[in-house]
Every structure is written in structure tokens, then in C-alpha cells.
Amino acid sequence: MATFHIPVTCENIISPASTNFRIRYRLMGDVAWTSFLVAPTSATTITIPQDSPTTVLDDNRIYDFQVQNINGADNPLSLISQSIGFTAPEVTFSPTDTTVGVSFPNLSVDIDSYTLQVTTAIDPGTIIFTTPLPTGNVYPQTMTTLIEFLDPASTYRVILNPVANQFTAQFVYAVTTLVDNPYPNVTSLTATLS
């Protein structure tokens, strides 16, 4: 279940006293709105009614929201505010002694890209690897990349930033490379076919 934090400014909020607030929302790009009324409250959190599956907001989707102050008359609707509730992708790491394969599902058609950054665990302020992973707004799909040139038996922080329009979030994972293989590989391998 996604949680949205949306600053809105309602019209004519002082007088007369509000009798209700109408909140309406829709998926970005949809035409139709879903609306409901809430009584005036000092609470800072309002839960979207969840009395049917259709009113459950999806994670990782961008929604439009509007709030309308009702105090004897319907005041103009607030400007449209957008928000998205990101969730952390379930990332699969495939470490070797010097590389880490990364794969995770793209969580939404609204996510334009992911940015993946890597730092060492002991120096989280220094980014040693970064790569954009555009999704092409395709869902579902599996995102993959390979982090190379790492040290054996070392712990790294992998920072994943989903980007959807102007929204982003940050999810941090830890991964440890394997110990150095005591049996070294050949180098400069070439293959020819004749």
C-alpha cells in the first residue's frame, strides 16, 4: 500500500468553517476521478477508503490528487498535485570476487529509469560506480547490470534510485564480493575461426 504526502492549498478555508473536504484522485493519464468526502480534521494523514479493491492505490504509480474545501458551497478545487509511493525492488545480487551481477524487476510502467550507484561500505560518501538503467516505460521487465572491478571479500553499498517524472526515491542494499579465487584464470584469451 502506497503512502502519499501531498501539500495542497484549499480555497476559502477560514470562513465559514469547513464542513467537509472532498478529495479526489486518479492515475496520471486517466480521465475519470474517484472522490470521497472527509470531515474537517487536524490530522495530517488521510487514508484513502479501502472498502473495495478498486480504491486501493497501487505502489509505484503516479497519481493526481485534488482537494476541495466545502463550507456551505463547493470552493474551487486545489491545483492538481501528483505523488507516487515507491517501494523497494527485490534485487538479486550475483557476486564473484570482482564483480556483482544485479537484476531486479521494473516495478511500474510509470518508472522512467533507475540509477544505480555503488559506494564502499566504509566510505559511503564516495561513489565508485554509477549507471543509468532506462526502462523505456516498459512493464514488466527485468533490469540487469554488472558492477565490475571490485575488490574481493569487500562489502559495498548499492544505491538504487527509481525515477518517475519528477519523483525519485533511494533504496540502499549491501552486497559482499566473494573471496579471491585461489586458482587464477588465464588472461588475454583469443579465439579465431578459420
Binding site: G136, Q141, Y183, N185
Partner: protein, 302 residues
Amino acid sequence: MELSLAWVAPVPAPTCGYKALYRANGQTAYTEVSTSGTTATISSIPPACYEGLVKSDFCSGNTATGVPFGINAYQPFYVDITINESAEAVIEITSDYGNPYDLLVSGSFVATANQQSNTYYFNDITYPAGSTDYSEILGGSYPGSPVISDITVTDFSPIFNEGQQLQQLDPVNTPEYFEFFWNEVSPPEWDGSPLSLPSFTLNQFTATDIDTSGNTIAGALNFSYIISELYDTPPSTLVELIITDDNYNTSSTFVSIAEVGLVTGTINMAVTGTVQQTRQISAYWLDTTLIDQRYFRLPIIS
């Protein structure tokens, strides 16, 4: 054909030599060759694209993780034009090995006689599958024993009876294929697109969603390719493969061109229209620059 592998020994050197494992594209099992030196030569293998790895062997089952290799089997073909006794032009196409599929060859040549030169064209001459030497009378009349020059191949394309330009004669795990190129002594420079590799194959399409009428509306398309060399300073190490159907619906995935060896992947795609319809697959750099584009049909087992 002959596959030659060469490498530099690690330090410390392995106590039991090396194991070279290789297989043709589409095969499931590797063939293993042991050697004490830093080369391996595998002779008398059928024309195909090959991939595998070389492991240092430290005895008692202790081996290095292995270093991958891949090699795409390009081979040249040659075109010659002569004038026969009936003053007709004859085209002769030769190659060292036969191709699994018919090849359509188009081009031009210049005939000079009596100090006058004229350019003539030939279109879609079929070089039959399996041929290594094929001749065909082009017809026409070329009196005066003209001198033939400037023989140029302008286009060639294999004929796949399953799906146009991509390799998919067999519905699943197409075993062998090698791409012709002409009048060259080395393969053309790879442009970074997996689609341009002769090993690029659409291996299998599996329906994942079927509507109540039995129509496939979604599926998973498995593909594979072999990277034999890394592209020189690519704009990115990821390439996006996008499938577009007649209704402009798209499905895509990202593939790596960062390591040599075999790469496999899956495109989860929506299916509109019929599964048999022709689609287009495109390869893009991450900055959306188009690298290559081909038509294909899904590899369906009928």
C-alpha cells in the same frame, strides 16, 4: 572449420594444464579439450558460431572459474562475371563452405568493348543452400569479347522460411548459421548491435497469457547471441532491444555488450494481431540512437 584458442598463462601456472570447453551456438553440452600448453586447436568442426571458456586446472578438481570466449562465423563469398561462348554474361558465386540457407545476391558490373563501357546489373541471384560453387547465365548479349570489371555486390540476404531477416529456420535452438560477407578478407566491423551478429537467434517463444478464445495475448521470447569482441568505446554497455508490431505496440529489454561470450535474454511481450505476423526488432543505444533493425516472425512450433 577450425577453432583456435590462445591465452596467457596465469601466475602461478596451473599444475594440471588447462581445460577448453566449447560448443556451437544452440547446443546445450560443451565439448572439453585438455591441454598443457597455452593454445588449443579444435579441427574439423562444422561451420557455426562457437562459444565456451578456458579454465586453469590445478588438479584434484580445483579449477579457476574460467574465462569466456565467443566467435561468430563470418565467411566470405566471391562473385565473378564472365562472358561465355554465346556472348552471354555468366555469374559464378563461390565460398569455402555452404550456407544453411539460400542467399539472394544483387550487384553490378562494367563491360567494356570497343572502347565503350556500360554498367549492367543483376538482381536477387539465388546462391543455393549448401553450395560452394554456383553458376548461372544472366542472359543478355555482350558481343565484342568485352572486358568485365568493377564487379560489385550491392546487397545480399539469406532466405529464412520462418521469418525473414533473423535466423530462425528452425523453430527452436537453430543450430548453426554463418553470415556471408563478400569481397573482404576480414569480417565487417561490428556496430555494437546484437542484431547484426550472425549468432543472434530467436530461440523460443512461450505463450504466457491466452484469452478465452484461445488467442495468445502475451508471451516470453527467448533470444541469444555471441559477442566475439567488445565494441570499441561504445556509447553504453547496454543496448535496448525493442519489438514493434503492426499496431505499434512495443516490448523491450536491455542487453549487455560488456563481456565476450554467450548472452541470453528474454523479452516479455504483448501479442496483438496474430502470433504469425511479421514484427520488427530494433537495437538502440541508451541515447535512443538506432543501431540496427530487422524484421522477424516469432519462432513458433507448429
